[in-house]
Symmetry: C2
């Protein structure tokens, strides 16, 4: 029986890779090709219908290569299936408008969020799904194995060894998936050196890389994590004080991840002042899973922070990070080693808490940043903002979420949504139905793009107070707790005052006064730094902010 | 205010590393030390109280180094905090008995499961927690940053580049955590070559490794995943048929992970026969997250399998894997690239289903392999056997778990427990309370070592039938469904026959007859291979089983 089938070829992936590389072998010197030959290289390496990764991650962009991809002739290369952690450059969308690519699986789309929404709704882009980062990496080893990866490095040598400096980010995950499945790895580098002795360190071994090209200009890095303290409002400071007292101190949160908004930046800047006054130093917020936020500098300098593991880097923080090797993960060259895959794992399995903001929350507590006018994707939020049910170690904060004396009770991750009840322009944050439902229907998505589900959310913090959602004993009670802190939004006005009173008496919702936090105290004078210049000062001149943030 | 504190040193980790390395600098030629100097090297690199990783992963063992560690003088080195994915060698426990180490954080303890249980209960080992693998890796970047990593490779060059061959396993995660945090990385290698040209490929860059020593013998690999088809019973075949029809086909399971037991080995061996007869080829079980199980060879050869991403390797499968590059992830050298971190991610975020066995199940469906006489740890099961709540892409099987028409309904991972109602020796699988509760109390664990929680389990399959637990509408109904398939165990005998009838009519539990599966059909003649020799035959002679499995 087992002999009846025709002999099968079992190495077609490797053979096809070899065939493609042979078509361009005359262009290579060792693993290097001339910049001018890049179109010919891409025509040789990419076939219509291929799954192609253009890196496209949160900050670092293989932009020379993605521009070269967008310059190809759609008659010759079309129907590509693009896989991108981040869709961050105009050319990432141009490949769809030109017909070079058809399908997209992605995780984040910061600066392109408006345009990608339009292209999804009108059918120009067929979206597979909007993932969380490590979900997308996971699929690279199962059902989205890539054929070609376009990646970016600071430096490369002629054998293909890559130095990614502080911006390693997604590169190990993306390159590994192709390098070990007969895929082709093409790297752009800002600089090419002769051999490994010219590299500060090796982040990706040369044997994983097929082709290296020197880019026409250094790859673009988006400074996503710089928040100018000047823009932090009194309300954000007020909410940050509530967070520190009512959540961080209440549960003894030691390991954590912050979102990228001004509200969590306010928390970072209150630790050395308000937090110090409360005697919390050494008791909370010690181990961080976070890009190197400039607003964390005062807390680091004041001795609050034991460690920071980073998803990626932040422009201007290079020298500061290198000078704080006890805090950050750095190589022997002194520069940051970021690694988004491990950092997402750290945030998922080893952090007590995730705290971040959102744009819309529904009455069940489901939240999303996807609106009908803006599809920004999720990045890490769904992963960080959910419970790792495989977790089997306890920390005080995690264990504090266990609800009873069941001998098998387990704790859970603290997932905190921190929002003002109204967004800019007096648009209510609390809505009857998330726009995500409409977007899913219009863009033909199998799953509505919810960022954090209500049943994963343990705390909801608004300027009105804190709802300890993990204490809800039923879905109905949970809804009442959400409405209780929804202020004068329609949802908030629908709250039953008697029920709200009961919830407050039961300690399931608290008002600022219950925490001893007053609006009068919540002023900018509480911030450890009130400007970018202050942050530079705290850093002893090591922090070097990008020009757009230099206003002094 | 910010100037009042004494200047702080911010590079103590790097400085201490340099200090330690300088004490042994005279022993190094490039990065190589003589085998005879290993004690001196360890005394120089390790200080009492350090967090030390001895690899100690699922299969590959840095055994030369862990033996050297166990030979140290506890007067000079003591109170180590060992971090080990796997505690697999006698010397891993000897370091505790000798007083060299005090605390242990681990994930799996295959062959040492009896002895480790004793040492935990009598207080010789203070156990932090029993983790799932990627949870332990995650903590290496947050609150368990290691000081020293003892790792193992097939080959190394004098610059420290490592070739781990098919056994890359946990190495990238373990080494990265130390290499970028001022830790010291010491690698044993079976063979040392002069430079990178002598390595088949580079799995770990030399700039991450500090010291290399040639081991006295090749590192030990445990063949954990070889199941001799001769030992598969008719009952296992019967249950495997139910699984294929009632779960794989019912939900269209395409991507999956199998446990290591004989029951799932039976499923692997039924795909090319029973599965083929049912017309399921190409419809189910295409993308695998799995060590290279020899029992998967017939399914691969019959064209069922599109891809297999591996946690680690399996002894004897080297040539077969290398010859099946379209199926397995391999390097340009042809050998497997395993990577447990990415494979666990793949199983968590990209697989439709996890199916495995256990030793005990309680009335709520919680299960564990930990018993009062055996603490085997969990390995990957808690991670693989739970829902990734951050997942945002749909597959048919995943979406099939969504329970209603809620526009925000999401699917979930299929988590299948497949057990006979009695274990060997007529010990009931179904128990009133898991031994894990007692073990937690006796060994002072914060969390009882539950392997898979009941509320994460979607299907329970016994020789009596299948309980579709994801369909339970209440905890009470869930309990009734579990009791309904618990056979003549005390729990099974407590089931209310009327309720069981109702559950069957509602399609919430099914009997074999409902699936059209009969015991008469369930014979060993259904297996695609009935011996190890048959598997060798299927592989065209490429599979080379370890001696202990060669019985012909």
């Amino acid at each position: 029986m087992r002999q009846t089938q025709a002999p099968r070829q079992w190495n077609t992936r490797a053979a096809e890779k070899q065939r493609r590389l042979e078509t361009i072998a005359h262009l290579l010197t060792e693993k290097i090709v001339d910049r001018e030959a890049i179109s010919e290289v891409l025509y040789g390496c990419i076939a219509s219908g291929d799954r192609v990764i253009a890196e496209g991650n949160n900050q670092k962009q293989a932009d020379f290569l993605s521009r070269a991809l967008a310059d190809l002739d759609p008659e010759r290369v079309h129907d590509l299936h693009m896989i991108q952690p981040s869709v961050g450059r105009p050319e990432h969308l141009a490949v769809f408008e030109k017909g070079i690519a058809k399908k997209l699986d992605f995780a984040f789309s910061g600066t392109q969020s408006h345009r990608i929404g339009t292209l999804m709704m009108d059918g120009t882009i067929e979206v597979g799904a909007i993932h969380t980062y490590i979900e997308l990496y996971a699929r690279l080893f199962v059902d989205l194995i890539p054929k070609v990866v376009l990646t970016a490095a600071f430096k490369a040598d002629r054998a293909g060894n890559l130095y990614t400096g502080p911006s390693t980010e997604d590169t190990p995950a993306l390159v590994e998936a192709a390098a070990f499945s007969g895929g082709i790895v093409i790297a752009q580098a800002n600089e090419i050196v002769d051999d490994v002795s010219g590299l500060d360190r090796v982040d990706i071994p040369g044997s994983w890389v097929d082709i290296v090209v020197e880019a026409d200009q250094p790859f673009y890095i988006e400074p996503l994590f710089t928040r100018d303290p000047r823009h932090i409002t009194d309300v954000q400071i007020f909410m940050a004080m509530m967070a520190i007292k009512g959540i961080y101190a209440e549960h003894g949160v030691q390991s954590l991840n912050h979102g990228i908004g001004f509200n969590t930046a306010a928390i970072e800047l209150l630790l050395p002042t308000y937090g110090e006054k409360l005697g919390l130093k050494g008791k909370i917020a010690k181990n961080w899973v976070l890009n190197p936020h400039p607003t964390l500098i005062p807390a680091i300098e004041s001795g609050w922070v034991e460690s920071v593991h980073c998803f990626g880097t932040e422009l201007g923080m290079e020298n500061y990070v290198a000078a704080r090797g006890d805090i950050f993960f750095t190589g022997h060259d002194g520069s940051l080693r970021s690694n988004r895959a491990f950092c997402q794992l750290a945030g998922q399995y080893a952090a007590d808490m995730f705290i971040g903001a959102t744009l819309q929350i529904d009455p069940d507590g489901n939240s999303s940043t996807v609106t009908t006018s803006r599809v920004s994707g999720f990045g890490g939020a769904p992963n960080l903002g959910s419970d790792a049910r495989g977790r089997r170690h306890a920390t005080p904060a995690w264990a504090d979420m266990a609800d009873d004396n069941d001998p098998l009770a387990r704790g859970r991750k603290l997932v905190v949504q921190m929002v003002e009840t109204f967004q800019a322009g007096l648009v209510p944050t609390f809505v009857d139905e998330l726009d995500a439902v409409t977007v899913a229907r219009k863009a033909n998505l199998a799953v509505p793009p919810v960022m954090v589900y209500g049943d994963d959310t343990t705390h909801l913090l608004t300027e009105e107070g804190i709802a300890y959602l993990y204490k809800a004993e039923s879905i109905e009670e949970r809804r009442a707790m959400i409405a209780a802190v929804a202020g004068v939004t329609p949802l908030g006005r629908s709250a039953d005052p008697g029920e709200t009173k009961r919830l407050r008496e039961a300690g399931k919702v608290v008002w600022p006064a219950d925490l001893g936090v007053s609006r009068a105290e919540a002023t900018r004078s509480q911030l450890a730094a009130s400007s970018i210049a202050d942050l530079v000062d705290w850093s002893g001149g090591l922090y070097n902010p990008p020009p757009r943030f230099r206003s002094w």
